[in-house]
Amino acid sequence: MISICAVSLLLAGPAAAECYADYKAKQDNPLRLHYGVAQIQGECSAAAAKAELQQRLGRAGWTLLNVLNVFGPEGLASRKDSAGTYYLRF
């Protein structure tokens, strides 16, 4: 019973509604900043998004400053203009 529950939870994670987060990141020397929107694969919370984005941005040489919000697909359109080239890039 427990194992069935666990499997169903694992399956339910990605299957749940699509999750996005908007964040701010920086690069040092010279200082470069960007605001971006990214899709979150894991749990749909700010803390989880932070951990996940930290890794992803770190690989590209960026430092995550903070995660502003997590939201569903309905929030994408209003943020697309601001994020510009960093819209769903990472």
């Binding site: 908007d22 701010k24 920086k26 040092d28 010279p30 200082l31 470069r32 900043l33 960007h34 605001y35 400053l65 903070n66 502003l68 943020r79 203009d81 601001s82 994020a83 510009g84």
Partner: protein, 234 residues
């Protein structure tokens, strides 16, 4: 009552102590100023950190143009901090020059004080013989480049005394007479030597006083050669 005497060596010792303390104080001030200078001026990252803080704190700063402006702000800050670094170097160099000047001024000041003390001592001591030149050819003794003509006998006496002084010897009257006349000292009388000394003192002292104190102006008369304001009559 305090001791009225001062010794030149004591003045020199305390003077060099003052110099040591003064130079140490100047070096401490210099090092303190340098440390203050290098730690209080903002480093290149201070501007970037500030811009970053503004970016994080304001959630609505998200549009591309705003972010670009923030980046430009950070860059101009960094450029300014480069300028500050060169200023810091210039200030440091000026600081070193200033402290070198301070040290030089202190050394000169102490030297001046020591020289003043020495001058006062010399003035009080009266005539201080810094050179004694005996010229046998001219029968003249030069004291501090003042020439005094002496008789042959007085020349002999002062030559013998000068030689004895160079050997750190003290001569009795009899020994002096013996050396001058070439006889054995035991055959000579004490009084004969004393007479030679008296004649030397008379001849030389007369001329020294004439040179230093009682001037003789040719065809006009005599005059004291001292300043008017140092004379007091009780």
């Amino acid at each position: 009552m305090p001791e009225p005497t001062t010794s030149a060596s004591e003045a020199r010792r305390s003077g060099s102590m003052i110099v040591t303390y003064g130079i140490a104080a100047i070096v401490v001030i210099l090092v303190g100023a340098a440390v203050l200078l290098f730690f209080t001026l903002p480093d290149a990252n201070a501007f970037n950190a500030q811009v970053e803080r503004i970016f994080i704190e304001n959630d609505d700063l998200t549009s591309g143009a705003e972010i670009k402006l923030l980046e430009i702000l950070a860059q101009s800050g960094t450029a300014f901090s480069d300028t500050l670094t060169s200023y810091r170097l210039v200030i440091f160099v000026l600081l070193i020059f200033a402290s070198a000047m301070l040290i030089a001024a202190l050394v000169f000041l102490v030297m001046l004080v020591a020289l003043n003390r020495r001058m006062a001592q010399i003035e009080r001591a009266g005539i201080q013989v810094s050179s004694l030149l005996i010229s046998r050819d001219e029968n003249t003794v030069y004291l501090n480049n003042m020439g005094f003509k002496l008789t042959d006998a007085a020349m002999e006496t002062i030559s013998v005394l000068a030689e004895a002084r160079m050997d750190d010897d003290v001569l009795s009257g009899a020994e002096l007479e013996g050396l001058v006349s070439g006889r054995n000292a035991t055959d000579c009388e004490e009084a004969a030597g004393a007479t030679r000394i008296k004649r030397l003192r008379d001849g030389l002292g007369n001329q020294i006083v004439a040179e230093l104190l009682v001037k003789n102006i040719a065809r006009r008369g005599y005059m004291l050669s001292v300043e008017k304001n140092v004379i007091k009559v009780l």
